[in-house]
Amino acid sequence: MATAPAVPGEHSGEAEAETPGAVIMHHVMDSNEFAFEPFGAVELPRMSIPASVPLLGGLDISITKRVVMIWIVAVALVLIFSIVGSKYKAMGVRQAPSGMANTMEALVEFIRLDVAKANIGHGFEKHTPFLLTVFMFILFCNLFGLIPYGSTATGDINVTLTLSVFSFFVIQIASVRAHGVVGFLKHLTVGTHWALWIIMVPIEIIGLFTKPFALTVRLFANMAAGHIVILSLIFISFIIKSYVAAAVVSVPFATFIYLLEIFVAFLQAFIFTMLTSLFIGLATAHEGGHDEHDTAVAHH
């Protein structure tokens, strides 16, 4: 969200950025240019809100590498799903989808039934669009980040924080909708004796904020860590200056981690969606008898 204002000529330290640590940090950080290393780079526009604007003055709103990646992901998602959607409309009732529509149907059905329905239970249809959007966005950000020259938008803590702020509001609004404002406040006391409220209420309020914070750091750290591990493995051969290390350690292990990252891309998108729907389910569950309700849903 709030990033440091762009310093002109900030990226001019290219000559000193030759140590492995500096190169790794440069790769993991956001930047103001889209580099296509041997072929040069595309300079992205830098801009900031004029200092005269109250409250937001001086805020950096440059279009950075990550912003471009997010736009690419958004365009790809709109294209893919409008094509798939029109295919579905043209299809007969008894006809099975094929090709891309089939792949997307598998993912959508998985999120709708195994994630939303299994965790939220009653009234899961209302939350399915949000969960599907979050899942597809994170998945495509993760996968596009693995393409050479790309950049993982979800490996940026600003992006993941924004995503989990959305989750936070969805969870709390669902809770207020399900229980009313009085019920929501009652939830904060966890049904304890009034003498304990001075301890329980602050703990519960902190608990409301730790959930989205954990979502933020988990997604960010997982995606950033994968890239750091791949680069570190490649740099092993540069640090000890040996072709043998490159052939035996760097290339095979980096390839292995790269393939593992494809799995992690799916897993982290799933985990984020799963935990969001789990929290929605916990926030909207009715007291008493929601246990048998849950099992009843799980057996469908």
Partner: protein, 73 residues
């Protein structure tokens, strides 16, 4: 004194990995045992296992991020 940050980062990374390894290993052991005892509950157990493993991994990654910051800053 500069070098102490590297020592701390190295120790921190190792300790975080020990904790996460023990935790995820325990989950996997219990999940395997549970699945062997009750194969029809395998899919439920798998989902619970993945969620718990992700939660533990998240805590370990908090530690690793701090270690990376120590080593690179």
């Amino acid at each position: 004194m500069e070098g102490l940050a590297y020592v701390g980062a190295g120790f921190g990374a190792g300790l975080a990995v020990i904790g996460a390894g023990l935790g995820i290993g325990n989950i996997a052991a219990s999940a395997t045992e549970g699945t062997a005892r009750q194969p029809e509950a395998a899919s439920d157990i798998r989902t619970t296992m993945i969620i718990a493993a992700a939660l533990i991994e998240g805590v370990a990654l908090f530690g690793e991020v701090i270690c990376v910051l120590l080593a690179l800053k």
